[in-house]
């Protein structure tokens, strides 16, 4: 059985009932707070540290070689609950150094007026190309300004470390196979 503790309520003493000593001690506390350093952040100049795994604005990232990772598979576009993403798939022209990659987006737009920061796009992307990063302060003067296009998305996203280098491996394997067939 839970233990019950009965706290006795003492009647207030005379000095407590006159309030005045209480007010004086309260004033002391108030005054002492004046000389304490302020605890607030001067926002636009100082920014709070963003915790690991924070879901900020969705962005597109490049791999360490500077190649855009998105292959415009459009999975994120399909999964996005509020339909914030619009992708125009594009071919990679022949002779490009990334020719071995299947596809790349021609245009990639995320409408931040719609995005609900659910993170499903990041979850579903097979290429680890889209990430919700630490950008949290987003504003604009018009609706158009809040639609992030491809350029803006890469600018926001930057480069993230990548362990897979899937397409590079594929290219190497292809080259090796090609070299093998000559023998």
């Amino acid at each position: 059985m839970a233990e019950t503790k009965i706290v006795e309520r003492k009647p207030l003493s005379l000095s407590e009932r006159t309030y005045l000593p209480q007010i004086a001690s309260g004033l002391k506390t108030t005054v002492s707070h004046i000389f304490k350093p302020s605890v607030t952040l001067q926002y636009p100049e100082e920014r709070p540290p963003i915790p690991e795994g924070y879901r900020g604005v969705p962005t597109l990232v490049k791999d360490p070689n500077g190649r855009e990772k998105c292959v415009s598979c459009q999975l994120c576009e399909f999964v996005c609950p509020p339909r914030a993403i619009r992708i125009t798939p594009g071919e990679i022209v022949e002779g490009d150094e990334h020719e071995h990659v299947e596809k790349a987006p021609q245009e990639f737009e995320i409408n931040m007026l719609r995005c609900i920061y659910c993170g499903l796009c990041q979850e579903v992307c097979p290429e680890e190309a889209i990430f919700l990063q630490d950008v949290y302060s987003l504003s604009g003067y018009s609706r158009e300004e809040l639609v992030n296009n491809k350029e803006k998305l890469y600018e926001l996203g930057g480069t993230l470390p990548d362990e897979h280098f899937k397409w590079d491996k594929k290219k190497a394997a292809e080259e090796a196979a090609l070299a093998g067939s000559h023998h």
């Binding site: 005045l20 007010i23 309260g26 004033l27 506390t29 108030t30 005054v31 707070h33 004046i34 304490k36 350093p37 302020s38 605890v39 607030t40 001067q42």
Partner: protein
């Protein structure tokens, strides 16, 4: 009356209005700054006037202190959209802020704020706009008119919340005005004690305190008066007229932009005048310290110094007003009434009787 002396009076009056209004405006800044420090914030520190901000060290320092913030606030009030609710009586609605401001500005004419010693004759007289013999009574009479502005505002805005706020304000006013007046009577008794050159004027009260301030000989009076001033200025813990928990915004719920600004300034002007009166009655007015009453040199320098010292006392009191705001939570309405009628009033009457008895004892041969 000569035209030049009339002109001089007008100039003095304008200067006085400017000073009091500036003080009222800047007590808003004091309020904001001190509040922020108490709460561990920084407070207004960004508004800058470009040319002044460009001065090397001083400019950024002033900006950080928020010196220009009241200016920005005022401008913002001016350029805000003017909203008048549809169901109000426009005449009374617009009259209310004016009525709230007028008493606050009227009381200042009888406030002596410094002394001027004539360099040749050595005669000292106090600096004030209207040397009235019944100064303190005039202040009581006029400053209590301020509540009409509040009542009118609440009634004419045609909103239940505003109306309740203003009714509360007037009820509170009645219950504190009495103890306020009664708490000052002992001072006047001592002022007119046998063998003392008496009077009811504020100058007489200040001069009486040359050697020892009234706060030391009449601490109970000082305390009662202080509490009453808090209630009268609608400051926390007595801001029943605008308690947002149960009244939305109180009597000024329906007021916006500059009209609200005027209410605001009137409230702060009340605080300034109240602090001034408290300093005059209990803190020796422009006297330097108890014991060292008048180190002021003769002539205009002395006049300025004494005035500045008086202003410093007022500013200290304003800071005190702000500190109290963050110390005591708001009273409940019934507690306010209880405190007013059952505690302060009997205490004030008892204090008055006690002082009268002591005086009678001294007087009896």
């Amino acid at each position: 009356m000569e035209i030049s002396s009339l002109l001089l009076k007008v100039v003095f009056a304008v200067v006085m209005i400017v000073v009091v209004m500036t003080l009222a405006g800047y007590s808003v800044l004091i309020e904001r700054k001190v509040s922020s420090w108490v709460q561990g914030r920084v407070g207004p520190n960004r508004t800058a006037i470009p040319w002044i901000h460009a001065i090397p060290v001083l400019g950024p320092f002033l900006t950080k202190l928020g010196i220009f913030q009241p200016l920005a606030d005022g401008l913002k009030f001016l350029f805000k959209e003017e909203i008048t609710p549809g169901h109000v009586n426009k005449v009374y609605y617009y009259l209310a802020p004016v009525i709230a401001l007028v008493p606050a500005l009227t009381t200042m004419v009888v406030i002596p704020f410094g002394q001027y010693t004539h360099p040749d004759t050595g005669v000292t007289h106090s600096l004030m706009l209207a040397p009235l013999d019944i100064g303190i009574l005039f202040i009581f009479a006029v400053s209590s008119l301020g509540v009409y502005g509040v009542v009118l505002a609440g009634w004419s805005s045609n909103s239940k919340y505003s109306f309740l706020g203003s009714i509360r304000s007037s009820a509170q006013m009645i219950s504190y005005e009495l103890s306020m007046g009664l708490s000052v009577f002992p001072l006047l008794l001592w002022l007119n004690a046998p063998g003392v050159e008496g009077g009811l004027g504020l100058t007489a009260i200040v001069n009486y305190q040359e050697n020892v301030w009234f706060i030391f000989i009449q601490p109970l009076s000082a305390l009662l008066f202080l509490v009453a001033i808090f209630a009268e200025t609608n400051r926390l813990p007595f801001d029943m007229a605008e308690s947002e928990t149960d009244l939305v915004g109180g009597f000024h719920t329906e007021y916006g932009c500059f009209k609200f600004g005027i209410f605001f300034v009137a409230e702060y002007a009340h605080i300034v005048i109240g602090s001034a009166v408290f300093a005059l009655l209990f803190l020796g007015g422009w006297h330097f310290l108890p014991g060292i009453a008048d180190p002021w040199p003769a002539g205009w320098l002395g006049a300025v110094l004494s005035t500045v010292w008086f202003l410093i006392k007022i500013l200290a009191l304003i800071v005190f007003f702000v500190l109290i705001r963050w110390t005591i939570p708001r009273f409940r309405y019934d507690q306010v009434m209880q405190l007013g009628w059952k505690v302060l009033l009997p205490l004030a009457i008892g204090n008055l009787i006690l002082n009268a008895a002591i005086l009678a004892f001294i007087d009896s041969p």
